[in-house]
């Protein structure tokens, strides 16, 4: 349960112009916290907790963030920030994802991201399996003090994506689909989840509560 103090926090969902903003807002409201959706730099900077949501393509989302001149603001945040799905992917250095699926083999076209956490988003290599990786899959983590406190290994979360970050030093939780990949990232005050906690039933709600309670 979220404590009374946590409920008084200013929670801001950054309006990245992406489509899953309502879902994230509604999920937080179900927990009883006050949520503001904003692209106002001053409001974001003053927040106790910040969400960076996103669905769609990395390129489109970064263009939207650039247009709103949000990058320096997000990069200077020191309070806990949680990137969700594409929002998590935007937190690393760059993404292989480009505007059109078919355009391959041009490294210069990688999308530069926010560089809050080192790392690169790559297209998933899944062999004969289907992409997008869509549905409920289990996570593995050694974290029992931050996002995954009280959430056992093998808990199902809802994923929808075709790109991912490999497992590396900043992986907080991993998942497997064809190959292992990062289900969650962490560096300093920046956290990210590849899955959708807002659509992951009670496990997702528990994770959001953990983040709000940080």
């Amino acid at each position: 349960m979220i404590g009374a103090a946590a409920k008084k926090q200013h929670i801001v969902v950054i309006n990245t112009g992406c489509a899953n903003i309502s879902s994230v807002k509604f999920a937080l409201e179900r927990l009883g916290v006050n949520v503001t959706v904003s692209d106002d730099l001053a409001i974001i900077a003053k927040a106790d907790k910040v969400f960076l949501p996103g669905v769609g393509s990395a390129n489109a989302a970064m263009s939207s963030i650039a247009q709103k001149q949000l990058s320096p603001c997000i990069q200077s945040l020191t309070q806990p920030v949680l990137g969700v799905c594409l929002g998590m992917q935007l937190m690393v250095s760059e993404s292989e994802e480009r505007v059109h699926q078919g355009q391959n083999n041009n490294i210069a076209e990688n999308t530069p991201c926010l560089n809050l956490i080192p790392g690169k988003v790559k297209r998933m290599q899944v062999g004969d399996l289907r992409l997008p990786h869509m549905g409920w899959n289990t996570i593995t983590t050694e974290d029992n003090s931050t996002l995954f406190k009280g959430i056992p290994n093998g808990t199902y979360f809802y994923f929808v994506h075709s790109f991912a970050v490999d497992v590396y030093e900043h992986t907080l939780a991993s998942c497997e689909y064809g190959n292992p990949f990062s289900a969650s990232l962490h560096k300093d005050n920046f956290f990210g989840v590849q899955f959708h906690p807002e659509r992951s039933g009670s496990a997702g709600a528990a994770l959001l509560e953990n983040f709000i309670s940080l």
């Binding site: 489509a19 309502s22 289907r130 549905g135 899959n137 659509r199 709600a205």
Partner: protein
Amino acid sequence: MLARRIIPCLDVRDGKVVKGVKFRNHEIIGDIVPLAEQYAKQGADELVFYDITASSDQRVVDKSWVSRIAQVIDIPFCVAGGIKSVEDAGRILEMGADKISVNSPALANPDLITDLHDTFGQQCVVIGIDSFFNEQTNTYQVHQFTGDESRTKVTGWQTKDWVEEVQKRGAGEIVLNCMNQDGVRKGYDIDQLATIREACDVPLIASGGAGETHHFYDVFKQADVDGALAASVFHKGIIPIPELKDFLRAQGVCIRD
């Protein structure tokens, strides 16, 4: 491991959940938000809302229920019916739907699939296909406007070709509704689904024909589909979702707890 999905489909007309046999004779099942909530609690992995008002009428349809569902539901859901443009899709997604499903309008204008993909990303573009097995020609044919008997027609597409086309254009998931089986609860069309599976590299959802728990096992095992959609067996309480999931788990199918 990625779990196979159990997906109740709620046909919506004027904000109420209805169900008909072979797309006709609709009866009211109940109010949409409490039913959606109930399914989420029972362990449904995802929900599909198919607005049958929208697909056959020209008038503007009130979709405010999408937002009401998004507020209470903590599992993913998809909205189908009457989405004819990027603007239509944008409104539904902004209200909190995770995916939009397009059927007849994609057949009328295949560029719509490309535009939806480029605007919102592959992950939220679902293509619904109504496929009918024609015994005379021994082919699977795509039908259009199946929501309205007076407009229903056979298209020039064979199902496998259309499945390949929509994937080229950026579909993120395909729901294959096998019309011969729909509403009669005699099992999914395994032959057709297995055939289409071979041509489908994105998630494939089986629709039409679920009547007993073992039908779900058969379709996962024999047609390797990613999810199984059903309506009446859930609405009428013929198959309780927790029992179905226990059964499938006991048979070794990967199912979410």
